[in-house]
Subunit: 217 residues, 2 copies
Amino acid sequence: MTASPPGTETPQAERRRRPRGAVRDGLVAAGLELARTGGPDAVVLREATRMVGVVPNAAYRHFAGRDELLAAVCAAAMAELAGRMAAGVARVPGPPGDPAAAAGRLAAIGTAYLEFAHAEPGWFATAFAVPEQHAYGAPRDGSPDRSPLGQLRTVLDELVDAGVLDPQRRDGIEYPIWATVHGTAVLAGAGPLRAVPDATRRHLQDLTLSFIGGALT
Amino acid sequence: MTASPPGTETPQAERRRRPRGAVRDGLVAAGLELARTGGPDAVVLREATRMVGVVPNAAYRHFAGRDELLAAVCAAAMAELAGRMAAGVARVPGPPGDPAAAAGRLAAIGTAYLEFAHAEPGWFATAFAVPEQHAYGAPRDGSPDRSPLGQLRTVLDELVDAGVLDPQRRDGIEYPIWATVHGTAVLAGAGPLRAVPDATRRHLQDLTLSFIGGALT
DNA sequence: GTCGCTAGTGGACGCTGTCCACATTAAGCC
DNA sequence: GGCTTAATGTGGACAGCGTCCACTAGCGAC
């Protein structure tokens, strides 16, 4: 992450010693570190190159510009969110098809989302700060959709299979549900409600999840 | 908004000819214009001073720095949102206490919110981009709360009075409702769903409002 | 061994936010 | 009226940012 200690080798000899792709990966890692505390605006190209121990222009060998670096950092932050959601879902026991387990998985998805937004506000803001013209779409190949929306859809389908959710109400309901959780995360994380005490925040989370539960049945 | 045409007077004589507060108001207006198309990041101090026809440092006589100017622009954008919401609510006829009218006013609030986010994405993003340390709280005097949250509370109280909403469920329900609408506005305005066609967007709005309606009854 | 490509360097440009010292104007007081 | 004083705008400067151009060291292919 930092420059190699001087003295042992001349900087010139050090030039091409990095493994292939190390600079690119290092820049994304550095950007992720910056975004963690300062959000997307803190991802400044020169600072990232400084952390990697390279001159600013070197970044332009791997990214078209600052926006493309930011886009890569955003994708990494989104992957981190998706990973924590998947971990939260996996922690709920019970076979697919069991109504209680399916409901528990839905709650786990929402909780993981809200917890991530609170624990990592910088990353959360970054995940949704994808610069214009660099949007990443859903995977078009056959790989399973591990994005937040994809995971939500999976659990909702499971709820239908388990007989908890009326199939007639299934179509499109992922959007209001996602919006409810996301709105709570935004308002309580970076928005007007960012300064509320911890107990209140937890109460807001419960209110949100039970609001969704009430709208489903 | 622009510099006075040259020729008629020397710039020196023009110096203190501005009415008191004109520069400050002009800077906020210029910032609002910049934010309209580019969001909060487009509010750049030097550009705003250029539009007002004044040297960059003049801004520091009215604001402690760029963040304080941005905070003023954010407040103006939030006021614009509140104004459009109030206008939408006022357009719904019917006496307070009438159940249908109260429900219509709730829908009008949500619709105005979503329409604003779509019609003015720059302002909408700016309204919620208040820089840290410059947050504006609710009015502590007796004046009625015209903020989005305040207007929502008023309508929800009306729904309770009209017998539409169970008083037992009233407490704190403004937050999930606000979050649902806000989340939809964010996701469909600046987030991953920003590029959806117009008909889909309208469908998302309807889904959101009926989702809230379903959760209330 | 030579060639050509890749990835890093060095220097520069214009832009930004911000600080300092200075000049001018308007307002208040006698 | 003339003087003082605070408010307000000016001019010049600085560091930091993203980005462009020309140059070069090192590696792999022939």
